[in-house]
């Protein structure tokens, strides 16, 4: 029952985090554009290396002078794509390639199983959903890996989370597809290890924001690794092994194992790990206030022609702070509060009845 409760509380935790973030965001000052293209591009240029920060500011400066919704969107999307790919990537490049290879191998094996066992249309639909997930994971990993100080603790955290789950499953292929009796409570892998990743990541990186990124990268890398392990388990075992179900066809069993593997390792485990790790990072920063101050992700440079490029603090609209919410924001906050309260109520009722 504890597992189900933890799973149900994860969306609530995410809603609380979004609510908190929304409540702390100050509306842009009058005259300063802060539409979606600006936010998208600001996020993307934050991924650039310090040596390329000037180019990020060049893109943002150019976008500010463009009129027309379509024109602004096209410019922002194009520049965001360029910022995502613009070298140098440093050590992150190897990690990104490794993650992409992991995702590609897992997706390829999954598709080969669908073909080999001649599974039905529903499995192809699941395969497409799996591809979307795996591609999203690879993209998210590529962006997280470019952040300074995230690569090593994030991947180490992911390895730790994956090992905890594999240990719980007895380090066997049978355990991967039909969970065996765990030698310790599942809450260790579900709660304790992700919390440890969030706390240690925050303390090591020095900021709450970096700690949350480390938790997210750990969730993504662990999910991908466990998914690959699960697919390999199905490749080796096919329809054999426990639980014995003589009434089921081979195709049905393989299909069931593939979909179960996807839901567990690409949805449930990353969701739980990211949420618990995120919460632990936020709590660590709150308990040690000097860690809470977030470093602006976009180093801003503003210089006149012929002068040097002296870094100046990020513009006010780029930094979150407490501010007086306007009426539409208040309405949104009320709606979000109501949704969170309803979710907590439903989770509590389900937990009590279970």
């Amino acid at each position: 029952m504890a597992k189900q409760l933890v799973l149900m509380m994860c969306p609530v935790g995410i809603a609380v985090a979004l609510l908190w973030r929304y409540a702390r965001t100050v509306p842009a000052a009058p005259g300063v554009r802060d539409d979606v293209p600006v936010r998208l591009l600001r996020w993307a240029v934050g991924l650039l290396s310090a040596g390329r920060a000037e180019w990020g500011q060049a893109m943002l400066g150019e976008l500010d002078h463009l009129e027309g919704r379509g024109q602004r969107w096209r410019f922002a999307v194009g520049c965001a794509g360029a910022a995502l790919l613009l070298p140098p990537w440093g050590r992150a490049a190897a990690a990104v390639w490794a993650m992409a290879a992991l995702a590609a191998v897992a997706a390829d094996l999954d598709a080969s199983l669908v073909v080999r066992y001649r599974l039905g249309a529903g499995d192809w639909v699941f395969g497409v959903i799996m591809l979307v997930f795996v591609a999203s994971f690879a993209l998210a990993a590529a962006t997280l890996l470019r952040r300074p100080g995230v690569v090593v603790p994030g991947l180490a955290g992911g390895l730790l989370v994956a090992l905890a789950w594999l240990a719980m499953r007895g380090f066997t292929f049978y355990g991967a597809i039909a969970p065996m009796t765990a030698p310790f409570t599942p809450l260790v892998a579900m709660v304790a290890v992700p919390a440890l990743v969030g706390v240690v990541g925050t303390l090591r990186a020095g900021t709450a924001a970096a700690g949350r990124r480390i938790a997210r990268l750990a969730a993504i890398s662990a999910g991908l690794a466990l998914y690959l392990y699960g697919v390999i388990a199905v490749v080796f075992l096919g329809a054999t092994g426990p639980p014995a179900d003589p009434g089921s066809t081979v195709g049905y069993i393989v299909s069931d194992r593939l979909s179960g593997n996807m839901i567990a390792n690409l949805v449930a485990i990353p969701l739980v790990t990211a949420t618990i790790g995120w919460a632990a990072a936020a709590a660590t920063a709150r308990l040690r206030p000097r860690l809470a101050a977030e470093v602006a992700s976009v180093p801003v440079t503003a210089s006149g022609p012929g002068t040097g490029l002296d870094p100046v603090p990020a513009p006010p609209e780029a930094v979150s702070a407490v501010g007086a919410p306007s009426w539409p924001r208040t309405a949104w906050l009320l709606l979000l509060c109501a949704a969170v309260a309803a979710a907590v109520f439903l989770a509590a009722v389900s937990g009590l009845r279970g």
């Binding site: 180019w55 060049a58 002078h65 096209r74 520049c79 503003a302």
Partner: protein, 104 residues
């Protein structure tokens, strides 16, 4: 290590657009519309040209409260390179300089 490869057709287009009036500072979006490039292609080209010392960059003076705009024009080395490119024609691509050239 930087590769000494010839410029792409898009990079040649940017160089030609800049060489048409080499003394004038240009905005990035002006180059996008003039060369019919996608923005996702323009900035990597500008970065590469600047890395090789072919491009001078500057910031728009006195932008007020708005973010400053970046300005671009060919450096002396860039003008020489564009002239060499024009003389050679498109049939014989001229490799981009390997390293950043010294000023002046």
């Amino acid at each position: 290590m930087q590769r000494n490869r010839p410029p792409s057709a898009q990079a040649i287009g940017v160089l030609r657009a800049l060489a048409a009036d080499p003394a004038r500072w240009r905005y990035g979006y002006d180059l996008v519309t003039e060369v019919h490039l996608k923005t996702g292609s323009l900035y990597p080209i500008l970065v590469r040209l600047a890395d090789r010392g072919l491009l001078e960059t500057s910031w728009e003076p006195d932008p007020g409260s708005r973010p400053p705009r970046h300005l671009y024009r060919l450096s002396p080395a860039g003008r020489e390179y564009a002239a060499a490119l024009a003389a050679a024609g498109t049939s014989r691509p001229v490799p981009l300089p390997r390293t950043r050239l010294s000023e002046g």
